[in-house]
């Protein structure tokens, strides 16, 4: 997981099959953790990335997004329990109490996320 943060998924050189990012934003903040890899990120990877993103935020910014991170993690768990999700997919979890667009976004640009191990193995041998 640690090597993923060095990947710029927008670079043409890094157009892997499974790409996306989670992002914490508002009108004064933009932090993200991206992935670009040959296999779909697992739920554990997704939760690790959420934690990595939390680690990039100040206590104040994290506090403003506590519920939104919980929603993101619930979404990823629900997706994983439902067989995963395929791209393109977008989910935005916004703090409606703060009128500056404080939110956490999930963006699945290509490939899949949270697929079961069996499906990953099948996909691996098909590609």
């Amino acid at each position: 997981m640690q090597n993923l943060q060095h990947v710029n998924p927008l670079s043409p050189m890094s157009k892997k099959e499974h790409r996306g990012r989670i992002q914490a934003q508002s009108d004064h903040l933009e932090e993200s953790v991206s992935w670009s890899q040959d296999t779909p990120p697992s739920l554990k990877q997704g939760l690790d990335m959420a934690n990595e993103l939390k680690g990039k935020l100040s206590k104040k910014e994290l506090k403003k997004r506590k519920k939104q991170f919980e929603q993101l993690e619930r979404f990823m768990k629900n997706a994983s329990e439902s067989g995963g999700i395929y791209s393109p997919e977008f989910r935005s979890f916004e703090n409606e109490d703060i009128k500056d667009g404080t939110r956490v976004d999930f963006e699945l640009w290509a490939g899949a996320f949270g697929l079961s191990l069996v499906i990953i193995i099948v996909l691996f041998f098909l590609t």
Binding site: R19, L29, S92, E94, A110
Partner: protein, 148 residues
């Protein structure tokens, strides 16, 4: 404030009707059949009923509508701009659907998808209430400290 499809998050039938409303609106504006750009389904086929109610891609531009449960007595329609996968311009609208917003929504969807209006101009079309809008246009300087 007359809200439409009020209990869409509690009733899947209402949600589906509400979704069809956006599909018709986009089709009326673009003159072509509108399809969801984002899947809004899990891999097992189960639909996600969470307010990310409609999305579409038209001529290189993406529109995502996120509908909130109505609880405001003023028009709520906010917009933000994203770059999707580094290539597509994406407009994310967060709204409470009401008769007032319905009228404005058609103009905004047309401006974004058909007339290729710049996001800054879209912003200027939004309701002016400070409670229903915020500035959130382009990448902003990162402020991520604990200073009060």
């Amino acid at each position: 404030m007359k809200h439409l499809y009020k209990n869409f998050l509690q009733d899947q039938r209402v949600y589906n009707l509400n979704e069809a409303f956006y599909k018709r609106l986009v089709e009326a504006v673009t003159g072509s059949e509108a399809f969801h750009f984002f899947r809004s389904r899990y891999a097992n086929g189960q639909k996600i009923y969470d307010g990310h109610i409609f999305s579409t891609r038209y001529e290189g531009r993406i529109l995502q509508v996120i509908q909130r449960e109505p609880d405001s007595d003023y028009p709520v329609l906010r917009a933000r701009h994203k770059k999707w996968d580094g290539q597509y311009d994406m407009l994310v609208l967060t709204l409470e659907l009401s008769e007032e917003i319905k009228l404005l929504l058609k103009k905004i969807v047309k401006a974004w998808l058909v007339e290729k209006t710049a996001f800054e101009e879209i912003s200027s079309m939004l309701p002016g209430s400070p409670m229903s809008n915020y500035e959130n246009s382009n990448p902003a300087p990162v402020v991520n400290d604990d200073g009060e």
